[in-house]
Symmetry: C2
Subunit: 199 residues, 2 copies
């Protein structure tokens, strides 16, 4: 039996359902809520609830947005000639942080994963060919994660959009910058050799 009274236990379990939160952290957060004033708790709940209600997929690319279009699609300065296909909005943020990519994104909202019963139908995928034509895109850079599912999805996408005649690229695999070759796993090292370039 839990040493906590029922409503507290339920709050702890609610926090535990969030990603990266273990039992101890969830307990600390729940007590944090109890230590708050009524007003502070209301502000917390309102922030979560209104974010959840107002945030939706961009009608153009699938990225998260509070408007019809996400800030990137709404920006006329972005280069529509290159579309970067990513798994989720977190990847968009990673790309935006390096401030080097000036194109637009296409956010799949997941990957093809037979294991968890997710097929291509569950992804924001079938608008992509249409979008390539509409934008007059010249390159689609597939930037799904370097996992089995990410690979499978990349393969599927490249076959799907091949008929449009667009140039299809993939992020380079290799040794992470600053890493020791000694610690690179075999597959990474193999890909780094395959992808070697002229000095």
């Amino acid at each position: 039996m839990s040493e906590f009274i029922a409503p507290l236990e339920m709050m702890i379990e609610a926090f535990r359902r969030l990603p990266g939160v273990g039992r101890k952290s969830a307990e600390r957060m729940a007590f944090g809520i109890l230590d708050m004033t009524e007003g502070e708790t209301e502000n917390f709940l309102a922030a979560v609830s209104s974010a959840k209600k107002s945030i939706r997929p961009c009608s153009e690319c699938g990225n998260i947005t509070a408007e019809e279009l996400c800030p990137i699609c709404a920006n006329p300065e972005r280069d529509r000639k290159i579309i970067c296909v990513v798994e989720d909005s977190k990847a968009v943020i990673s790309f935006e942080k390096i401030k080097e990519f000036g194109g637009v994104y296409h956010v799949l909202g997941g990957v093809i994963s037979p294991r968890s019963g997710k097929g291509p139908d569950s992804l924001n995928l079938f608008s992509l060919s249409e979008r390539i034509k509409k934008c007059g895109a010249e390159e689609v850079m597939i930037a799904t994660n370097a996992t089995v599912e990410g690979e499978t999805t990349a393969m599927y996408i490249s076959r799907l959009i091949k008929p449009t005649g667009v140039r299809i690229t993939r992020l380079a695999y290799g040794i992470p910058v600053g890493a020791d070759i000694e610690y690179a796993d075999k597959l990474t090292l193999l890909r780094a050799i395959e992808g070697r370039r002229e000095f």
Copy 2:
């Protein structure tokens, strides 16, 4: 400027206000909320909100409870002859976990802290003398934390309840079980020497 859209940024900041949550964890939790179904988010919000609404201080001891009395005060088997004075409900849970203390608690809801402007008036303190008489308590074990504030509070309480004639005790200070003497700080070692006992 934040790389996140406004409502997402507000949700991240709301999570950050919880104890032990840094920026990165708050971001992960916020995206966790976005990945949930509407129903899951509603369950999360309901669990937090109803815990906050239903949990209040026990009218007897100040411990958290969803009823009039906390489970400990409501239990007729608990020994009212010994009252353990603690800073907060987290301490009650720590004591209950060891399953050795059969008495009741008195939860202060904080400590005297001139630095943060908290005087004795802000604590659940003045019902204690009354309670000692009502229960016919024979011992009050003061178990505030081993901090300057905890010490000050313990001192204050011992003076406050002295007139009741009850036996007043304090948790032992010393080397934590399993710890190396080499790593004990000076003050702990000093207290361990002062508190030494016959073999």
